[in-house]
């Protein structure tokens, strides 16, 4: 089975406090630690496990810039056979539809049985997979938390629905699935693994290679644009307990007693 996984490099919220820049039009990007979007690692791991059982290849692709090279290599160190970087000035400031349009052009040049994305990235838009599927006229399922290959043309999948319940579906290949975190345990990537893929070639594809219509992508085509970031209004907000840790603990114990959490 030929599997494509679409990944994204994002500011790592577990490594950074995300702050506004002085203009308020973007986040402060100096000294930010970037990582591969968490859900995308689960998608790559799932692809690797399917290929280990069924045979085939895993390709990772991202729409980004030269800095995304390290993200693709990280996933190749996990075991992906191939990395593809899609990058072009004309693609910058694309909205979700623009990104899906670019990926569609790439997919149509290749042959993939299964396309995976992470369920969502740092912007929690959760949109690229569903858009790409619609453009390709492939079936789609979001929030997938298990995949079983039934035969060369069909998968049995479960989707995460409310309250921890699951919805079982059969879906025909080729298809697009968005992968929920927790579907597997993504393998660890060490320095040694990164070194082993350091010299592998990662092709870069742009507007002309993909034969994308320039008017369908980039800032001009975007109907959805982020204008600025701001710190959300605090509402009432918590009363932040002040003082030394000892003092805070005494206050907390008192409060817990008053609320019946302690006898």
């Amino acid at each position: 089975m030929e599997i494509l996984v679409c990944i994204k490099r994002v500011p790592d919220t577990s490594e950074n406090e995300i702050e506004l820049n002085s203009n308020g039009n973007d986040i402060e990007r100096d000294d930010l630690v970037y990582s591969v979007n968490e859900a995308d690692n689960y998608a790559v791991e799932e692809a690797l496990q399917i290929v280990a059982r069924e045979g085939g290849n895993v390709t990772v692709v991202t729409v980004g810039s030269d800095e995304d090279d390290e993200s693709l290599r990280r996933e190749m160190a996990m075991g992906a056979n191939r990395g593809v970087l899609i990058s072009d000035e004309a693609f910058s400031s694309s909205d979700g539809k623009g990104i899906a349009t670019i990926l569609k052009a790439y997919v149509q040049q290749e042959h993939y049985d299964l396309i995976l994305t992470g369920v969502q990235a740092e912007d929690s838009a959760a949109q690229i997979g569903g858009m790409l599927a619609a453009m390709l006229d492939y079936p789609f399922a979001a929030l997938v938390n298990s995949i079983q290959v039934m035969d060369a043309r069909k998968l049995k999948i479960t989707r995460e629905i409310e309250g921890g319940s699951k919805e079982v579906n059969e879906i025909e290949l080729p298809c697009v699935l968005s992968i929920q975190t927790g579907i597997n345990e993504p393998r660890y990537v060490g320095m040694k693994g990164i070194r082993q893929v350091a010299s592998l070639n990662i092709p870069t594809l742009g507007l002309s290679e993909l034969r994308v219509d320039a008017s369908a992508v980039g800032e001009f085509a975007a109907r959805v644009k982020r204008e600025d970031y701001f710190v959300p209004a605090m509402g009432e907000g918590a009363e932040i307990l002040q003082g030394s840790r000892e003092v805070i603990i005494e206050k907390l114990i008192e409060l817990m007693r008053a609320k019946g959490a302690l006898k």
């Binding site: 858009m131 079936p139 979001a142 409310e162 975190t181 927790g182 114990i253």
Partner: protein, 327 residues
């Protein structure tokens, strides 16, 4: 003004809470708007839901088909495309169904798509200004959306306050004849209801709840010791279950359990809306987090900015001492 539709999620003959929230969202786009409810489904359950919406919606469009008895997003998308007028704005709740349905629907409608909308600020011509959140709720963002050729907007459940009902005596219109035979490459098989698990956190009065801030599997014991000391139970947020440090049945949130404790200690939990949506009954909420900007501090009653790996053991020790000193 563009016509606004609200897709009504329903189950077993009952409309989801979002049905009333979408009216409020529609009014924020256009105060004069009278949004139209649109529902897909089958049989008497569908009719019951349609009837229940007559107070909230002036017009209710019903699409009844046996194939739509279960809301398979792939089929619902095709049905909506047959029924919705071009250039309309469709509101959908941003839940597991809306995430499945809407991005692809927006492509097929050639409409703009914005997901997880938490507020609607203004509209000038076809230029709609919305608010979303990014980075797990740490920052909000204004988003401009060009609705000139229509839009699909997924709104966050709970973000829009339902308006006071004014009995509209709404009209139910059957749009089923517009929809022909539906085919799909994705077939619903069954629903597997969540396993209850060994401990029922939904009934516990005091929860020590841990999130990503617990950092390692071995650290779960720190929370367990505190819970044991005060007679509470350990629950958690999604990352702890994803990492397989606790069972799914311990997870609080939309994809986990809904809890109604009296006291909730959120330890190293950032406070995503999916997590907070699982906490009902307005408990006394204590947040312990080393990031002073964590969104959980906006909703907590009391906040403690500290490293929980140091704070919790000291708290446990102090409670033990104070209990001993009372004997």
């Amino acid at each position: 003004m563009t016509r606004i539709f609200a897709y009504i999620v329903h189950k077993a003959g009952v409309a989801d809470d979002s049905a009333a929230e979408l009216v409020a969202a529609a009014k924020m786009i256009d105060d004069a708007a009278s949004p139209t409810a649109i529902l897909t489904g089958y049989g008497t359950e569908l009719d019951t839901v349609c009837g229940s919406l007559r107070d909230t919606y002036a017009e209710i469009w019903k699409v009844a088909k046996e194939d739509l008895a279960y809301p398979n997003a792939e089929l619902v998308r095709k049905a909506l495309l047959e029924v919705l007028p071009q250039g309309c704005i469709l509101l959908v709740p941003h839940n597991h169904f809306g995430i499945d349905l809407s991005p692809g629907l927006s492509i097929k409608m050639n409409a703009a798509f914005v997901s997880d909308v938490v507020n609607i600020e203004s509209i000038k011509g076809a230029n709609l200004k919305l608010v979303r959140q990014e980075f797990g709720g740490q920052l909000s963002a204004h988003v401009r959306c060009d609705v000139s050729s229509g839009a699909v907007l997924n709104t966050r459940p709970g973000a829009f306050k339902p308006l006071e009902g004014s009995a509209l005596n709404g009209l139910v219109l059957d749009k089923s004849p517009l929809v022909g035979a539906l085919t799909t490459k994705r077939h619903f098989v069954e629903t597997i209801v969540a396993d209850a698990g060994g401990v029922d956190i939904s009934k516990e009065p005091v929860l020590v709840s841990i999130g990503r801030g617990i950092q390692e599997r071995d650290n779960v014991a720190i929370a367990q010791e505190l819970a044991d000391t005060i007679g509470a139970v350990v629950s958690c947020s999604r990352p702890v279950v994803d990492a397989k440090w606790l069972e799914k049945s311990r997870q609080v949130g939309t994809s986990g359990k809904t809890v109604k404790p009296k006291v909730y200690l959120a330890c190293g939990i950032s406070g995503s809306f999916q997590h907070l949506a699982g906490i009902k009954g307005n408990p006394f909420l204590v947040a312990i987090n080393k990031n002073p900007k964590a969104p959980i501090f906006q909703v907590a009653d009391v906040g403690i900015v500290d490293d929980l790996l140091e704070f919790l053991p000291e708290l446990t020790n102090r409670i033990r001492e104070s209990v001993l000193s009372k004997r």
